[in-house]
């Protein structure tokens, strides 16, 4: 690719730098604030919502006094936030586990087997993928209700196991794999399962990593499903639905809670960043 030079390059870099700072600032600010003392944060957050023309909120980024008070509060003194965090971990783990067992085999079936109805099934999956949540929520609810699963954790987890988008994503990657891979393994006497486990899954590493990261991001930020399906069960909510309540109650430890919630996502990103880029790049997305 042609490189930009001189002034134009500087200008582009400056604009990108500005944007990068803006995009990263929410996370940085959350971490910085999480090290203020509870009292300091309470006083600071109390200045919100004042419509006095002469008043400004204090502009500060660095805590006046570095303290682990907020972390002590949520990790040791009061376990409310911690339990919600554990709920989030449970949802993310169970959703990803089910997806790992169901979705890659289905993608394999739709890419490397020839059988009648294959194109029809794949077309149906694309249609489902394009339907907005408001629409797919309805069939999900009807089934969950007749199975008696509303207001249990499975109402959130089960429909996600069959998320059409990830079937599409992984299938598109597998279609691009050469058939010789399978033929060579068959010559050595490998059955379908051992081809799947020993040949297909290892070469699909980038897209599996990308799909896992994307699915984690979705499961870690659940809102619509728990709010709808678990409306009567406050104690089963993941932490993601509770932040605006935390913020409005002015607890003083909301930033430590937010930092705690950002941290796992940060690790997932650092671990999978190469896979996200190369996985999507090697996938036939058309």
């Amino acid at each position: 690719m042609r490189k930009m030079k001189g002034f134009r390059l500087r200008l582009a870099q400056f604009l990108l730098l500005l944007l990068a700072i803006l995009l990263l600032l929410p996370m940085v600010q959350t971490f910085l604030y999480s090290f203020s003392s509870i009292g300091e944060m309470k006083a600071f957050m109390k200045t919100r919502g004042s419509y006095d023309e002469t008043q400004w909120m204090e502009a500060h980024l660095i805590p006046n006094l570095v303290s682990l008070g907020q972390y002590h509060q949520i990790l040791i003194a009061d376990h409310t936030v911690l339990w919600l965090f554990v709920n989030s971990v449970m949802y993310a783990a169970l959703i990803l586990l089910g997806q790992a067992l169901i979705i890659p085999p289905m993608a394999f079936a739709l890419s490397k087997f020839r059988f009648p109805g294959r194109e029809g099934i794949f077309f149906g999956i694309i249609l489902l993928m394009l339907l907005p949540f408001q629409v797919t929520m309805v069939p999900n609810v009807l089934t969950l209700r007749s199975l008696g699963l509303i207001n249990t954790i499975w109402a959130v987890i089960l429909p996600m196991w069959f998320a059409p988008f990830y079937i599409f994503l992984i299938r598109q990657f597998m279609v691009g794999l050469p058939n010789e891979l399978i033929e060579a393994a068959e010559m050595d006497g490998a059955g379908t399962w051992s081809v799947y486990l020993r040949v297909i899954l290892p070469v699909c590493r980038p897209i599996l990593g990308a799909a896992a990261a994307l699915s984690f991001a979705e499961s870690w930020n659940l809102v619509e499903q728990p709010l709808t399906y678990l409306a009567a069960r406050q104690e089963l909510q993941p932490l993601s639905t509770m932040f605006n309540q935390l913020a409005s109650e002015n607890t003083g430890f909301e930033f430590a809670g937010a930092a705690l919630y950002i941290l796992p996502a940060l690790f997932v990103y650092l671990f999978f960043q190469e896979d996200i880029l190369s996985g999507i790049q090697l996938t036939e997305l058309k």
Partner: protein, 284 residues
């Protein structure tokens, strides 16, 4: 490529059964719901539910807001991510930091960031400070019509990364020689972006555009984060209406609203698909 049909079953069946059970079968079963009155006898009422729901002012408001918000969100997300990816692509490999800073928010829980948003857009907060420095008056960001801006910005912050990834993947597949030739011919940078890059990535761009729409229909998430469960009127989305009806166990209205919306969405996507076909034929 396996051709023996029985071999596919163990791979296909678990997923297919789940999709049929949770998505396809109840989808058709639900049509029956939308045509009955939900009473004890469950009498068939034809399209009466549809007429009722369409005339319901809250449904109209939710639909209107959802459409307006996605009409703001998806084109801006699309354009912003296209321009960004072109810039990022030119900066390789020095652009790793920039690329990471754009991608990172996609994996971040926007739920945890909403507190920062509430701070930034407070009446006495940084955004209004900057506005005052620029000589403008303060704005009530957290109420009424103005609430839409923070909501849209949170949506863009969160969703930019994924669109950029798809665009970047498509851009890196374009041969460099095309640009060298265009430069020799004296084509400017914006000219190259729109005359070479855009036509070559039409298929991926179309996918990004559609995904932008699908995501924009889920703006309820950002609305809930900033506006709470009972937002002001300019933010009352279709999801709010459906959650409300669902809470009242009014499945007739829930299904009716969902299917009305589905028809609209598919009409929209059908139109987009048709336009893409025509555009592509025009280019080749």
């Amino acid at each position: 490529m396996y051709k023996k049909k029985s071999l596919v079953l163990p791979f296909l069946l678990p997923g297919l059964a789940g999709i049929l059970l949770f998505y396809v079968a109840p989808f058709f079963g639900g049509i029956w719901y939308s045509l009955t009155d939900g009473s004890y006898e469950n009498a068939f009422v034809g399209f009466q539910n549809y007429l009722n729901v369409w005339q319901n002012p809250m449904f109209q408001l939710g639909l209107k807001n959802t459409m307006e918000l996605s009409l703001i969100c998806s084109p801006s997300l699309f354009l912003l991510s296209f321009v960004l990816s072109v810039l990022l692509n030119r900066m390789r490999p020095a652009g790793a930091f920039f690329r990471n800073s754009v991608l990172l928010p996609y994996l971040m829980p926007s739920s945890a960031v909403l507190i920062i948003w509430l701070l930034w857009f407070d009446y006495g907060g940084p955004v209004n400070r900057i506005l005052t420095l620029l000589g403008q008056g303060r704005v009530f960001w957290l109420q009424g019509q103005e609430l839409r801006l923070p909501v849209v910005l949170l949506f863009l912050w969160k969703n930019l990364g994924f669109c950029v990834v798809i665009f970047l993947a498509a851009l890196q597949a374009i041969p460099e020689s095309l640009y060298e030739y265009a430069t020799l011919e004296g084509a400017s940078f914006p000219r190259q972006a729109f005359s070479i890059t855009l036509p070559l990535i039409v298929p991926s761009a179309f996918l990004v555009f559609i995904l932008c729409w699908v995501n924009a229909f889920r703006i309820f998430k950002e609305v809930y984060f900033i506006g709470g469960a009972y937002p002001d009127e300019p933010l009352y989305t279709l999801q709010n209406y459906m959650n409300n009806m669902y809470g009242k166990l009014n499945y007739q209205n829930v299904t009716t609203a969902a299917y009305s919306f589905a028809v609209l969405v598919f009409a929209l996507f059908g139109l987009l698909f048709w336009m893409q076909r025509r555009a592509q034929r025009g280019l080749t």
